[in-house]
Amino acid sequence: MTDTPSKRLSGASSALPTRRQALKTLAAGAGAAATMPLWSRYAGAQSAEPIRIGFGKHATGIGAAYGRWYERTSVAALAKINAEGGINGRQVELVTEDDGTDPKRAAEVLEKFASQSKCDIAFGTLFSHVVIGAAPRAAELKLPYFVVSEGHHVASGMLNRWTLQPGITDVKSQVTAMAPFLTNTLGKKVTMIYPDYGFGYDHRDNLTPAITAAGGEVVAQIAIPPTETSFTKYFPKIPRDTEVIYHVMVGPAVLTFVKEMGEFFGPSRPEIFGFIDSLEAVDLSSPGLEFLEGTYFWEGMPRYLQDDAPDYVKAYRDAVGIDANGASTSDGADVSTAAHMFGCWETLHIIKAGMEAADYKSTDDRQALIEAVEAMTDMPAGPDHPQGAKRFNGKTHQVFGPQYISKVTDGKLVVAETVDYEDTLYPDEVDYTTMSF
């Protein structure tokens, strides 16, 4: 993907999946532009060059299932933005590169965005180590880098002024928001099961004090290596007096994990609460998951269409192409990563809002874009923010939003409780706005 846009259009005969989608995005935008009033088209024509957003995609490696849905959501969001006239009257184009879920490649991909494919900004990527590996390059390249990672690394101050996370909440706020529900509704004695690496430690380090603060107690912490493929041997470490099991696993073996947990407990299980990460992109009707009936999950955004869903949520789901069960409308077995991918949609809308606030014209305005986003605070729920009302903290570059707790009912996830963003806040750990660009 090193050629210029004009070449790209003429060379469409060799169009490839990612390229084809970019083209579709463009075509949709062009069609929409034709229907708009003349002045708008004129404005668009003035700077015909589209705004280019580099999208680092987990297309291969362990993050691949997420990458696919992140891309679908992003393409859908841009189709909407373009149909509504683009950004500052310019069309927006997604330039997708595989980062291999690998930090080295992700850093290279950022270089490619900045200097080769002439992207205005970079965006994307979930896995923490990939973000942490790539972020220093973003700062060196002075390339705004909007991540959709849910890691705490942004708000912890580890990264830099050019890296922001305005579209998805971080694990620290998610976890602390769960503690009251856990202790008040499910039980006081909690056993945690989490992957034995950074993402799991975020859960361990944040949940334990939050549970204590809420009057409960973490009775055991069981770390499981991320490469593990069989889990039954870890379950005996769960103390007998456990009232709640809190689980969060990622990677290809998540289904095995949940299944074996069910087989372990049989009919006499404690209350079970999990982060949906354990089952993201996994069909709840998969064999072995029957036992999850009646257990609870954190969801970033509900996977199943809720009865009381507002119209903008329905519109969002239709645009992305997921059915009432959160699976692809074209393939019911292709389950989405609904709890995370909304972050791409919202981030792209924030980029639009930021660029318009900064009157973004060219890459010279990148700094102004960062400052414009830093100045944002409240983000009302609506078509741009279908997951719910949020507040952005410009100092920590981190957004705070609602958290959903859903119960498996008749094989579907039904929202049982919603935690508003006010209850997920925590003291600032960094002030990026004091750092130099």
């Binding site: 490839l16 080295k104 490619k112 923490s128 690496y197 950074g198």
Partner: protein
């Protein structure tokens, strides 16, 4: 080798060094960045080549040396705020030390066993990095602090200083390996590769020389890892994983094992191959696989090796 052709060889290598220097000022910014990266990684390949290409030690665990350099330098910066040069030296030293320990054990084996033993040791090193997550930040890795990315007041994260530091390191490694293969020590390494028993019966202590070669190889690989961390600012466990051991093998095989220029050519070629392949397919590692199989089948000598075979027999 007669003096005249040696002169041409030196001219070729110095010429490459000069061209790379000049490219800093003319290349578009993306390719300049790529080349800086390739030069630093080519140093890793040069290190690997000394063990594999010249001494015949087919290791499947060199990522542990690269990782030792990366973490040795990065941790000094993260925990002690050490500046770039001493941090780099610590990293390089850590790699040399690790190579000494691993070599003392692994060199008791040969051939297939050596491959597997090095693979296992590297795996243990990788897991150790994960295990001591409190210090190493485990799987996430960490960003190298700015203070460690400064050399004599120059910010190494800037485009030109980074390129030039990479160039200095690469040039030093390239010319060192050119010198080494002509030096008596290097020639004995080649003799060991060709026929270890015969070399031993010429009175050479082959065990110690292999160990020496592995330590040099490990130190150079670590020098590359340390520089990589300091220049590009990120230290992570994936660099110590099995795939990066395979990469070194791949680059050297592709460029030509046992040639001085091969590691650079292989690294450069493979980088652009993958860079272009990602535009065509998500499964770009497929290209790596096809290249590996193709090389073993059709060009075991690699690119520079084929040049030597067909065109320039005295190319070292």
């Amino acid at each position: 080798m007669r003096g005249k052709t040696w002169g041409a060889v030196v001219a070729l290598h110095l010429g490459l060094v000069a061209v790379l220097f000049a490219l800093n000022f003319v290349l578009p910014v993306y390719h300049q960045g790529v080349l800086a990266r390739v030069m630093v990684l080519a140093v890793y390949a040069i290190g690997y080549n000394i063990a594999f290409g010249y001494t015949g030690l087919l290791s499947l665990g060199h990522a542990m040396f690269f990782g030792a350099g990366l973490y040795g330098a990065g941790l000094m910066g993260l925990h002690f705020g050490m500046s770039a040069l001493p941090a780099w030296l610590v990293g390089t030293g850590a790699g040399a030390l690790l190579a000494l320990v691993v070599g003392a054990l692994a060199l008791r084996t040969a051939g297939v066993s050596f491959m597997i033993v090095t693979l296992m040791f590297a795996q243990a090193v990788y897991l150790t990095i994960l295990y001591f997550g409190d210090i190493t930040h485990g799987d996430d890795g960490f960003v190298v602090p700015g203070v460690s990315r400064t050399l004599a007041g120059i910010d190494l994260s800037q485009q030109h200083p980074r390129y030039l530091v990479g160039w200095v390191l690469f040039s030093a490694a390239l010319l060192f390996s050119l010198w080494l293969v002509r030096a008596p020590f290097g020639r004995v390494l080649v003799a060991i590769r060709e026929n270890e028993e015969r070399a031993r019966l010429l009175g050479y202590d082959t065990g110690r020389r292999k160990l020496g070669a592995l330590v040099i190889s490990g130190a150079i690989s670590a020098a590359s890892g340390a520089a990589y961390g300091l220049l590009f600012g990120y230290v992570g466990a994936s660099f110590a994983g099995v795939q990066y051991s395979i990469f070194a093998l791949l680059w050297v095989l592709l460029g030509g094992a046992g040639t001085v220029l091969g590691p650079f050519v292989g690294t450069l070629f493979m980088f652009y191959l993958i860079d272009l392949a990602t535009g065509v397919t998500d499964a770009y590692m497929l290209i790596a696989g096809v290249v590996l199989v193709g090389l073993t089948l059709f060009a075991p000598q690699g690119i520079v090796g084929e040049v030597r075979r067909r065109l320039w027999r005295d190319l070292p």
